[in-house]
């Protein structure tokens, strides 16, 4: 079911590996076909380009990106009124050639609205609602204008990311009804679930419309864990922001830490030592393995196979304890810092890492053979919660879940960067898009990450682990784009005149994948929802911010 795609990264075609090697080298300027804008290449080892656009170009760019097979990554608003006199809205797209960051200054008469993108990218809908809630900028013409991250805990005319608000304002939380889409018909009823869920999980609300056991429709309402992360980051120094950015989603702390630091380093013109970059990849792959182990156990458990939970969580615990020995923290929080990593690994530690990986792989292969041969388990996994390739493309599905639907990209394979260009990552791939496919991709990614960890331990370049940070570039922009275990994490930072954070935006792949979950459960039975949900294992905190 899984197919390795070794060699795809080194082949011809859309790969841009050849471009990324030397930072600062002269290249042909990047262009979007038919769009007359000047792009600047952002510093960093992945290809990322930024340009200012007009409202007409904003609309045109979306169509161009769509026609090139690109996808929407994220949308966010920026308040530059204190310095430039206007607000702006920005969008990031992923293309074969890299990341494109378009900035639209809203400096005409319609200073609080921008053209809606949902006609081109369905995944824009919730992001635009979030921009309206936080920045007060409206996507003109958007069909769904319900609040998304604001639930009546603050008034509709309070926009936390506007400069006149300091974020410490306090309002009474009221009960405000939310207009769920109602399904009517003979025998249709609703099952509301959450925000407090039955297990030890993050809060969110699911509204099921069902007939008997069959799910006709699921509507998610998220935003419960919104704790003002982006406002909190405002006016902080780049160093101060690191701890917060590393806590956007606790299970992806390495991915966020790395992405944030990439953006910060771009702004401080920092050369990160090669050894530090390799060690960061080491941590990122360890994080991927830890999460996949946990999920594989939980997936067994959700199909009443508690043997799987006990076995995989035993392996995960041993893995986390090793992480603590290696970097001083079970989840590896705060090990990645601007400039590099906080501590080096000892030589003898690197040897044990190799042995760990061999032993773990043998255990996981054994457990995979048991999962594969278990008829009851496979009966629950196969065909359940399907997202086919066409739907995955329409919804811009991303990360591990997209690769299980046969369409995904993987930044580590597509663009390399340091150190992945030296490691030739094999992209995991499955085509069925069901729970079984997401299980298969997790197994494949564990084996591949274990191979990468061993290779990193073996070929780790020598040298320092922390580079010098220069003064941050006032009014500069930087971005970090990292393939976390769940999918692509993007952090963009814009600094103000003082070199402090004016706007830091953190994007979680869950934004794209939550809507896909709504589609995946249609026609399934209610008791399969926990299984389908776990097979995606999306972040609440990461998307609620």
């Amino acid at each position: 079911m899984t197919v390795d795609e070794r060699g795809k990264t080194s082949g011809a075609g859309p790969s841009v590996n050849s471009e990324v090697a030397v930072p600062g080298a002269v290249r042909k300027p990047f262009q979007l076909p038919g769009l007359d804008s000047t792009f600047t290449r952002l510093p960093g080892t992945l290809p990322m380009y930024r340009a200012q656009v007009t409202k007409a170009q904003w609309r045109a760019a979306a169509s161009v990106v769509r026609s090139l097979g690109g996808r929407l990554v994220t949308i966010w608003g920026i308040d530059r009124r204190s310095e430039a006199g206007y607000c702006a809205v920005a969008v990031a797209y992923a293309l074969n050639a890299g990341l494109v960051w378009l900035d639209l200054p809203l400096n005409d008469t319609e200073s609080t609205s921008y053209p809606d993108l949902t006609a081109t990218f369905a995944s824009a809908a919730r992001m635009q609602r979030a921009v309206a809630d936080l920045s007060g900028l409206i996507a003109s013409g958007a069909a769904d204008t319900r609040p998304w991250l604001r639930h009546a805990a603050w008034p509709a005319d309070y926009f936390p990311l506007c400069g006149e608000n300091n974020g410490r304002e306090r309002f009474e939380a009221l009960d405000e009804p939310y207009a769920f889409v109602a399904v009517t018909g003979d025998g249709v009823h609703e099952i509301p679930v959450g925000p407090v869920h039955a297990g030890i999980i993050e809060p969110g609300h699911f509204r099921f419309s069902v007939v008997g056991e069959k799910v006709l429709r699921l509507e998610e309402r998220l935003g419960y864990t919104h704790k003002g992360i982006e406002k909190r980051l405002e006016a902080m120094s780049l160093a101060q922001g690191t701890r917060i950015a590393s806590r956007v989603s606790g299970d992806s702390t390495v991915a966020y830490g790395w992405a944030y630091c990439c953006a910060a380093e771009a702004l401080c013109a920092t050369q990160v030592p090669a050894r530090a970059q390799w060690l960061r990849a080491f941590a990122l792959e360890r994080e991927r393995v830890a999460n996949h182990l946990g999920d594989l156990g939980a997936l067994g458990n959700d199909a009443a196979f508690s043997f799987g939970l006990a076995q995989f969580w035993r392996l995960r615990e041993a893995w986390q304890r090793r992480s603590e020995e290696l970097v001083g923290h079970r989840l590896m929080m705060d090990w990645i810092v601007p400039g590099g990593v906080k501590s080096d690994l000892r030589v003898e530690a690197l040897r044990t890492v190799g042995e760990d990986c061999v032993a773990l792989e043998a255990q996981v292969r054994l457990l995979e053979s048991i999962y594969d041969a278990h008829a009851g388990l496979q009966d629950r996994f196969v065909g359940t919660g399907r997202v086919d390739a066409q739907l995955a493309r329409q919804l811009n599905l991303t990360g591990m879940a997209a690769r299980a639907s046969g369409v995904g990209s993987d930044l580590r394979c597509d663009f390399g960067g340091v150190p992945y260009e030296n490691l030739q990552v094999r992209k995991a791939h499955a085509i069925d898009g069901d729970v079984a496919a997401r299980v298969a991709v997790r197994f494949a990614e564990i084996y591949e990450s274990l191979r990468l960890i061993r290779k990193i331990a073996q070929d780790l370049p020598s040298g320092p682990t922390l580079g010098n940070l220069s003064e941050p570039q006032a009014r500069g922009c930087g971005a970090g784009w990292i393939e976390g275990w769940r999918g692509e994490v993007l952090v963009t930072i814009e600094l103000d005149d003082r070199g402090l954070i004016r706007r830091a935006h953190c994007h979680d792949p869950s934004w794209q994948n939550w809507p896909a979950l709504e589609h995946a459960v249609i026609g399934n039975i209610v008791p399969d929802f926990p299984l389908i949900n776990k097979s995606f294992n999306l972040s609440y905190s990461g998307q609620d911010l």
């Binding site: 704790k227 989603s249 048991i370």
Partner: protein
Amino acid sequence: MPWRMLRQIVQVGIVTEPPPEVGAAQEPSALLAEQHEIRQEILAVLGRAVAIRAVDPGSCNGCELEIHALNNPYYNIEGLGIKFVASPRHADLLLVTGPVSAHMEAALRRTYEAMPAPKRVVAVGECGCNGGVFGESYASRGRVANIVPVDVEVLGCPPPPLEILRGIRRALR
């Protein structure tokens, strides 16, 4: 397949470690005696297993991962007579992470109110104890004690499973 499963269960054996003494450093011995002691302690207080309702009112999910870990075979918390339940109506103890988001304030309060008395509350993690890096803002109420009365606080970001277990034991005394 059943043979492979059974062989795996036998080969792995029992990995459960001695549970922690409250406060003091742990001697790595006398596993059974220690487990017995905790079970007796719980039985003396409640006459049955302790039921915990965990609520995440806005955390980053880091603490939840470590609470989950308590259920793995190394800690085997159910073997000690401590179990997680799905309803606050069945719970003796509320385990709450943080910070409490403004959107979760009412849900947390209602969960607490739904628990039968006597009830204990353990706040887990830096954010649950003092608001952590997120603090208080338009969207965050900060520490758990700002919303419901807290009996025991477990610091750490996130606290390792053993520290959470120690906090649970402290709350029962």
